[in-house]
């Protein structure tokens, strides 16, 4: 097994997770459960595809993807913050809505129920092993940048306060709803970037192309105990397991289904507290 090809393949698999898990950490630290990551990613992938298809520019596609994620992030924010909808229900509804909306407009724009035509992507020079893709670098930078924002800036402090004890935060003048709106909108845009990477990397949009990656990101958030850097490490770890599975394909050493289970099983184990307890932000999911 070639270590360089292993590392680059792992990184390529990890990038969507890194973006989405970063989004998940931001929203959840501010107290909003984000099961909608999957939907944000899917919307991001589709809007980016539309953007690239009509302009030919991956950069405009990237902006369109961010915009799609922003819209869906704001829907989740309005539902959970303004209307106090149950966070879990809203998240699941957004995932279904994203599947429906992308399918409907896939049919409308490209007259297909399975995939878009081929679109341009970033990079593509074989000699660079994928490192000529700016989205790859952005994905790597998500965790350190988020860690800086959450732990070293006033906004980060406010966001964490809102997620732990909104009433206390409000009593010292923090605008709880505003902080949460910003956090959830950011989470929508970040997760959407994960989808943008997928669509541009595969040079097309396919129906439900995110295929549960948003939930792997949720798993990484919990496994990383709501810390951006630890969540990113969890993403890399899950991606490594997946890469191993791809590279071992055909050897029948371990059935692929068992490798698929790894992130999910680890998350369950982490939640059960067998190896240190995963404790969520205190006010996570509270709607009052």
């Amino acid at each position: 097994m070639n270590p360089i090809s292993f590392l680059t393949q792992m990184l390529r698999i990890a990038v969507p997770y890194l973006f989405a898990a970063g989004g998940g950490v931001v929203a959840e630290r501010a107290g909003i459960i984000s099961l909608a990551l999957e939907g944000f990613m899917l919307t991001g992938a589709f809007s980016a595809t539309l953007g690239v298809h009509y302009t030919g520019s991956p950069w405009i596609g990237l902006l369109c993807g961010i915009f799609g994620g922003l819209i869906f992030g704001l829907i989740h924010a309005v539902a959970t913050i303004r209307y106090r909808a149950d966070h879990v229900v809203s998240g699941i509804a957004i995932n279904l809505l994203a599947i429906g909306v992308t399918r409907f407009f896939l049919k409308l724009a490209f007259d297909s129920s399975s995939n878009s035509p081929r679109i341009e992507g970033f990079g593509g020079n074989q000699a660079w092993y994928g490192f000529d893709n700016p989205l790859l670098w952005m994905g790597i930078l998500v965790a350190p940048v988020l860690a800086y924002f959450l732990y070293r800036t006033p906004f980060g402090l406010r966001a964490r306060a809102v997620g732990e004890h909104p009433a206390a935060a409000a009593s010292v003048g923090v605008k709880v709803a505003k902080v949460q709106y910003i956090a959830v909108a950011t989470s929508g845009m970040l997760a959407a970037l994960g989808g943008v990477f997928l669509a541009l990397d595969q040079h097309q949009f396919t129906d439900q192309m995110t295929a549960g990656r948003g939930f792997i990101a949720v798993a990484a958030v919990i496994f990383g105990r709501w810390d951006p850097v630890r969540a990113a490490i969890a993403c890399l770890f899950f991606a490594a397991a997946e890469t191993l599975q791809i590279q071992l394909q055909g050897t029948q050493l371990i059935p692929s289904q068992f490798i698929v289970m790894i992130p999910y099983l680890l998350t369950i184990i982490a939640l059960a507290g067998v190896v240190g307890r995963a404790v969520p932000p205190a006010a996570l999911g509270k709607t009052e």
Partner: protein, 350 residues
């Protein structure tokens, strides 16, 4: 009574209106007339026997998953695992149907297979229940993660050991098949509707009795409303939660017989096809009441079958959008309606 009914009925009505408006806009964006599309939708579902049979078939599975989710919510638990519980139930029922010899009396084989389905779903439901009670692990995340684990496990068993070559399904069951409705009412010919619908209605009835006419059901609802108060009143919260989660899983598992015993006669990978997740929508719109769940299941089944009927005019994907809109709108209007009604009823302070 009237107040409770208002609080229960307003959100779905609001959601329906919102969905209608969204549907109108999308249909018009496609250059069609909403009235024509909706008429076609109704004609293709309730307007002919085949379409109606398909609606009944789809509503049957959704009734089970909706009841499963709703009993969880009644106990304060959010079971997002109905999808894999449904699959596990169907799998065990299919396995037993495969193992039983054809000479085994059908009158015993069917109940045995139904029981197997409940056991399959119940086992999958027991895991998050145990982890919640023993370790305090949040059931939402555990059930989501368990969906992936259980589906991968079933996939491994079927793909690796049990499938018919070139397919994703097991061989046909040898015993325990449930009769189609078309063998009693020929008009249903071709539709998948089968007698599982009777099992679904009986389950809904029993669940109503359990929730509202039994001590255990009272305890379950008490735990769902205020666990601390229930505990103070002598209810064993832990075992009540455990029981609720197992029951929820078992009911979702029962849904598996609709496809495996009643329709295809074999277990197939991916047969659940999102019915478990849609069960959340059904429970939500049905306001967690067995009667409401049955009505909501019919509604979502009509939408899903109706998508096929309107496909000539607008893409059937329209109904996927509307499903999401309905769930979101109900979720958003429940707290809103509650506080608005409470405000309206509050006597004017002197």
């Amino acid at each position: 009574m009237r107040e409770k009914l208002e609080e229960a009925l307003f959100p779905p009505v609001v959601a329906l209106l919102v969905a209608l408006i969204c549907g109108d806009l999308l249909i018009m964006s496609y250059g069609q007339s909403p009235a024509t599309v909706y008429r076609l939708l109704l004609e293709g579902t309730w307007g002919n026997a085949y379409g109606f049979g398909q609606v009944l078939y789809k509503a049957t599975t959704l009734t089970f998953t909706g009841l499963a989710v709703s009993i969880g919510i009644r106990a304060g638990l959010f079971n997002v695992g109905a999808e894999s519980q449904l699959a596990a139930g169907g799998f065990l029922a299919g396995l037993l149907g495969l193992a039983l010899s054809p000479s085994f009396p059908l009158a015993l084989a069917i109940p045995a297979c139904i029981l197997a389905a409940a056991v399959g779903g119940g086992l999958v439901g027991a895991v998050p229940g145990y982890l919640k009670v023993r370790f305090g692990a949040h059931e939402v995340i555990v059930t989501i993660m368990l969906n992936f684990v259980v589906l991968a496990l079933l996939n491994w068993i079927v793909a690796g050991h049990l499938h018919v070559p070139e397919t994703l399904h097991t061989p046909e069951i040898r015993n325990g098949g449930i009769a189609r409705l078309s063998s009693f009412i020929p008009a249903f010919h071709g539709s998948a509707a089968n007698l599982t619908i009777v099992v679904a209605l009986i389950t809904a009835g029993l669940l109503w009795l359990h929730l509202f006419r039994s001590r255990r059901g009272y305890e379950l609802r008490a735990v769902g409303l205020q666990p601390e108060v229930a505990e103070y009143g002598g209810v064993k919260v832990g075992s009540t939660l455990m029981r609720a989660m197992i029951l929820s899983g078992a009911i979702a598992g029962l849904g598996g017989i609709n496809y495996v015993l009643g329709y295809k006669g074999y277990y197939e990978e991916g047969f659940a096809g999102g019915a478990g997740f849609l069960g959340i929508a059904v429970a939500l719109v049905g306001r967690n009441h067995p009667v409401g769940v049955v009505i909501a299941a019919l509604f979502f089944a009509t939408l899903s079958q109706g998508g096929l009927a309107i496909h000539a005019l607008v893409p059937k994907q329209l109904v996927d959008v509307l499903q999401g809109v309905v769930i979101l709108a109900v979720a958003m209007s429940v707290p809103e309606v509650r506080s608005a009604l409470r405000k309206a009823r509050k006597p004017v302070a002197a």
